[in-house]
């Protein structure tokens, strides 16, 4: 008994407290930031070409007018409307404090460039409540990029990743479409997106984002635009950067650039939008990949 008491003597207790604090401190860094925490980054800037975005009365006003209902006063994605958005049909608003963004030109795990955020504001995010804010002036958008960045401490301590290089798009050919089908099978895109690209893969119902919320894979056949842009290069970029915060990984280490273009062409054959790949595929009589075939069929 004495021994037990000695074990909880004052020095020991102090050590335990210090240890507990040491463990808790990193955890608190994930907790929601306060206005004061955020305000220390009021000098944040954004640089897009010749434009410099600032945090000023105008950007605060614009954020309050257009953004705050979803993204919230603290940029934590907890605006008054967030509670009514039910994923996966209506994804929750982005939590800017985490500094994690889907649409980037930079490698997975890195911060997006200012240009990425600038483009996302104008393009919006299809199949979500994020409209296309193409009505803003470029200066307004640049200011809003600075405003979005100031919510996350990551932008104060890290630099954005280096944008990936996208090689010139090759000519689409039947062989390339067939090769794209092989890539589709090899990296198992079908597990989420389904063998015909209609988002009914076996993993689709179980998908969650990094915050544990349900998320749906992209349905290539429904006619909507890919989330981060609808050009071939935009689709290419998604394979190579991934959509951070979602189950869509980066395949930069698994797919060679040439193969990525092949995959773009194959995916175009699923999509409702007309394309040369879709026209060529009509003569190929391609069958959907076989989920039960040996890996790399």
């Amino acid at each position: 008994m004495r021994t037990h008491l000695r074990k909880w003597s004052l020095p020991n207790l102090a050590l335990w407290l210090i240890a507990a604090v040491a463990v808790a401190l990193p955890l608190t860094s994930w907790a929601q930031l306060t206005k004061a925490d955020i305000a220390v980054r009021d000098n944040m800037e954004a640089h897009i070409g010749n434009l410099t975005g600032h945090i000023n009365a105008d950007s605060k006003y614009a954020y309050r007018r257009y953004c705050v209902s979803c993204h919230g006063d603290l940029g934590d994605g907890n605006g008054e409307v967030a509670q009514w958005l039910d994923p996966p049909m209506w994804p929750k608003p982005r939590n800017f404090q985490l500094g994690v963004f889907k649409c980037r030109s930079t490698p997975t795990g890195t911060l997006p460039t200012d240009q990425d955020l600038f483009d996302t504001i104008a393009r919006g995010l299809d199949r979500s409540a994020m409209p296309q804010w193409s009505t803003f002036t470029k200066q307004e958008r640049a200011d809003l990029v600075a405003y979005v960045k100031h919510y996350s401490p990551r932008f104060a301590t890290e630099k954005p990743g280096t944008p990936i290089t996208i090689p010139p798009e090759p000519e689409v050919t039947p062989d390339r479409i067939k090769a794209g089908r092989d890539v589709f099978a090899r990296v198992q895109c079908w597990k989420c997106h389904g063998v015909q690209g209609n988002a009914d893969g076996p993993s689709a119902p179980t998908l969650q984002d990094d915050l544990g919320r349900p998320i749906a894979p992209y349905n290539f056949t429904e006619g909507s635009r890919p989330k981060c842009g609808d050009t071939d290069a935009d689709i290419y970029r998604i394979f190579m950067t991934g959509l951070d915060g979602t189950p869509m990984p980066s395949f930069a280490d698994n797919i060679k650039p040439d193969e990525a273009w092949d995959l773009v062409f194959y995916l175009r054959t699923f999509m409702a939008q007309s394309s040369k790949a879709k026209q060529l595929a009509k003569g190929l009589q391609l069958k959907p990949v076989d989920p039960n075939a040996p890996a790399g069929q």
Partner: protein, 484 residues
Amino acid sequence: MYDLRHLQRRNLTKLSSSLVALSLLAIFIVLASSQPANALPAFARKYGLRCSACHESWPMLNYFGQKFKDNGYQIMNDRDAPIWQNPGYWPVTMRMTPIWHRVSVGKVQEDVYSGGSTTPTGATVARLTTQGFDLSGLDFHTGGTLEKNISFYLLPSSDPTGAFHFETVMARLDNVFHTPWLNIKLGKFELDNLLSEKRILTLTGNGGIYQLYHFIPTNDGNIFGQMGDNQLGLEVLGHSWNDRTRYSAALLSSSDGTTQLPYGNAYTGFFTFYTAFDAGKMGVDRVGGYAMIGQAPTTWATQTGPSGSTIIPGSGIGNKNFSREGFYGLFYFGEHADVTVVTQHGEDNAWFGQGYGDFIDGIAPNNNVTGTTLPAGSQNPTWNGVLVEPHFVYSPQLIFLGRFETIRMSQQANGAFGTEASNLGNITTYTVGFRYNPFMTNRAGFAWHNEYNWLHQDGTGPSLGLNSANINTSELLMGFDFDF
């Protein structure tokens, strides 16, 4: 002896000091208590956007709201079709406005009783002032999408007595052939004005309309060129993907929006074009123009029965021309200040100017039956006008607004033979006010509305040989403008 005048002056000074202090306090409370604005009903409920996302101040659209409207009430995120909404969602908004107002109308002709007579012994011209509590009409707004790229809007609206009419009833095919340059609308709808009267921020009798959009020369019988009224017809509208360049062309029945075709078979065209440009830190500015070119009847068939001669509805022929055209400009000066300018040159055919036109409602006293001729020297009445409306948006919840309009006749219908003054019917009007939304939620909106309007018109009041016949009318209005 105590100087009573001094006491009164001192009390007045005290009173005015107190009033100034109270006013400053009220302004401080209003400014200090501005809270973040939430979404307005119907569309805001559907999309989770605050009213301020689409409206400079409800109901006036900002650029994003205009784009949303031009896309057929869609934000184009592939979630616009009702199938994506909660089944319980019902896109309805109701709006009504209880008010207090004081209206002072100059130059009302009144009978005079004198010498103990119980019958009028003469007439005089006097000012009539009325004040008290009142109600606006009731609007039921419902609109949205029936399916992706098929949208609708329905607005049954009542006057303050509860008598309903259909203000807007339209369906629209959006992005026909997958291009935003082709959208087709059919029904009764607001004309595609850059500054739409249906989205006006003011509520008084004279300030609650744009005089420029309704101007009719004195004694003119043409009611059909009123750009402020919703019209029946077919509209084709197109715009660039970011809505910076727009056009619209509408074919309208010359009925001023009245259903059942009481007037005849005439048509009016309404055309707009405008483009926006990035003015850097100033904002996105717009410039453009419009033209309304139409015909309307002046001849009506009649029918004689036991109760005498009556007009046969729908029988209007003898169509004559009219036109209104002008420029629009919407200029921002940073995030908080903007000014809209609209100009107009208007012209009616000489027949309208001589009191032919809407004979069926008795607005035009003359019927252009066979053998009728115009007085020698008759000419087309023409006029020019300008409207300037500045806003200062302190926050999405507090807007200060003003308006100045002036319309000047440049040619009277009677020409050289007429006795009327060259300025007969000229209008000048000022409106100032503010709207404060102490709160807004995504379920309801509420504005404390305050407004003052003053209107002057030359020569249209009774004169009875006394002074001029110019009319000065003023209205002070305070109300709660709410919707849910």
